[in-house]
């Protein structure tokens, strides 16, 4: 091993280790809670916070077989997946226009997009639900998809615009010499080079559509088979008792598709895409 690089490498691993402890200990705690008998989220005795004592898989069995958890998971996957696709389709064109074209109202449009985020989103829930109802989308997954996509519109457009700004304009000018119009330079030049930003947008779209509770509970409150996972899970809570064990098991199982999606997308976070395109 190259001993000159060992020092910095060791420091990096120590930082990563501290980060892992910070990030994962609460998750480990949830894992312990998901196996605890009696549906208690906490355990007041010290070893029980770190090692599985009396751990059973009962909650997982209940969640998977007796409760329509998998059905809810399927609904959530459809909603989140479609949100991701819609997000990618809609935001990329707008971001490209804001970055490359010069037109009246460009700056005003950008500022508008940013500023409307300043409105407290929670209080916008009721009008949004009412609009979706008026469009006839009450109780349908399409309504949720539309709403979730609109949540991500502003951030994704801005993020992509920022990334497009860093792609040198020379590449598109070179393309224009060969006769590329605006649509072609968007599809053939800018999009392939923006893969890292597209991956971030896809991640953001998926994560936004995945665990959202307030709007989903208003839009799809029943029947059981049509609910998404958060609505279903919190619906398990009755006035007498809250099944923390089931919640903990559900929360951990919710993480699995997220990890799969992220592992797939993070490979696109690669550099060197614009290397060698145009000199200077």
């Amino acid at each position: 091993m190259n001993t000159r690089r060992l020092g910095p490498l060791l420091v990096q691993y120590v930082i990563l280790l501290i980060g892992i402890l910070f990030a994962l200990y609460p998750l480990w705690f949830i894992f312990l809670a998901s196996g605890r008998v009696g549906n208690r989220l906490y355990s007041v005795n010290l070893p029980g916070m770190f090692v599985p004592i009396d751990w059973t898989a009962d909650n997982y069995r209940t969640m998977l077989f007796e409760i329509p958890f998998l059905q809810w998971m399927k609904n959530s996957l459809i909603v989140a997946g479609t949100t991701t696709l819609a997000c990618l389709l809609i935001c990329t064109s707008a971001a490209f226009a804001f970055s490359r074209f010069r037109f009246r109202g460009r700056e005003a449009g950008l500022i508008l997009f940013l500023a409307i985020q300043a409105f407290p989103g929670v209080l916008a829930l009721v009008p949004q639900a009412q609009i979706l109802g008026a469009l006839g989308l009450y109780g349908s997954r399409l309504g949720l998809i539309l709403a979730y996509t609109s949540f991500t519109l502003v951030f994704c457009t801005w993020n992509l615009k920022g990334y497009f700004d860093t792609i040198p304009i020379d590449l598109e000018e070179a393309g224009r010499i060969d006769g590329c119009g605006p649509v072609q330079s968007f599809l053939l030049i800018a999009l392939p080079l923006a893969r890292p930003a597209l991956a971030v947008t896809a991640m953001f779209g998926f994560f936004s559509g995945w665990g959202e509770y307030p709007l989903a509970s208003v839009l799809i409150p029943a029947p059981d088979a049509a609910k998404t996972v958060p609505v279903g899970m919190y619906g398990l809570a009755t006035t007498q008792s809250i099944p923390w064990g089931l919640f903990a098991a559900g929360a951990l199982m919710l993480l699995v598709p997220l990890m799969i999606v992220f592992t797939y997308l993070q490979q696109f976070l690669e550099s060197g895409l614009t290397l060698g395109g145009v000199k200077g």
């Binding site: 916008a124 009008p127 919640f247």
Partner: protein, 407 residues
Amino acid sequence: MVGWSGTRKAVTVLAFILPTLLGVILFNIYPMLYNVFISFTNRNQFHPNADCTDTLSSVIEPTCWAFTGAKPPQGLADPFRIISPLLDNYNTLMGNLIKPESLTSLLILVVWFVPVIAALWVDRQQHRKAQRTIPTGAIWLAALVAFVALFYLLKVGQNLQQLTDSGAFFAVVFRTALYVAACIPLFLLVGLTFALILNNEHLPGRTFFRVALILPWGVSTSSIIAALVWQFFFREQGTINQVLQALIISYKPFAFLNNNFWAFFAVTIVNVWMTYPFFMVVILGALQSIPKEQYEAADVDGASWLTKLRHITLPLIRPAIMPAIVLSSITTFQMFGTAWAITRGGPIQGAGKPGATEFVMVYAYKQVFETRAYGRMGAFAVIIFILLFVATLYSLRVTRITKGAYE
């Protein structure tokens, strides 16, 4: 694109932007207008329904739109109407702030910040000159001295107290602003550190670390559980106290959540835990746009990693991460779930006064569910919106992120 104009350009630009614009109009602008309308009415638990015979209501209120087949709700109660002193809701919320004492206090606060703004301005002037006449260190030292001096001369502490006592509004907004100012640098620090480390291709196990470190973002989608788990850590019989008791003999359990500072700290830490993966991902994406030759050229000149960070990495990822910072500030300002789950609005500071962690949305939630005063909450939303809008506009000037590729 140069050399194109007229109808063809207009149509193409519109085609690119239209879907996003439509979505924004429908799901962002319409709810805003609706809330503004509600803020001028007296909608609350006694007047819950809309009056569809009134022209304005029949246009804005979706339950009055006949074409959708929705029937206007019937009830025994009076429908809500536009109220007679039009700005009554606003007055109830902010009335105390318009009094002369409060306005002078606000003015004093603004004057207190003048040295900082002056230092920024002078610094930028000097930066533009061919040769600096005043070094950066001297500017900031002078600003610091002036800042501290003014604090005592203008009795800023007293004035702040007076403003906080004048009503819940200022206290809540100020506390939330403090919370945002504490969270954002932490997000950046943690996200930047991890992104820089995980950007290195030669790090074995890179994918594993990336996936592991992103998990808090995933769990925060079921944020209630995560927030409750963290709340348990800070309890008197919670993990932190028990671990410290086991390690230190004479340690007595400390009630973190009953102490103003520690409750605030706890909510901040949990927020950092939930949000740093988002920043890590955005920064990782931005890091990919930096060409490797820049680093190689710096290596040839013998630059240390700190120099490379300051002069290559940070300036080049700036346009890509600034939007994330601005948007994240806005979202953190409006954050509700975490603070509510951990402290329910924080250690109480007195009857009728907001608690130590009662942020803007927690305050709004308490008001709505205690008095169901939708009209007043509409007014609150509009005021917060105006505040954040102005802050955003100012930040756009400072960060210059609206520039396009041609500028």
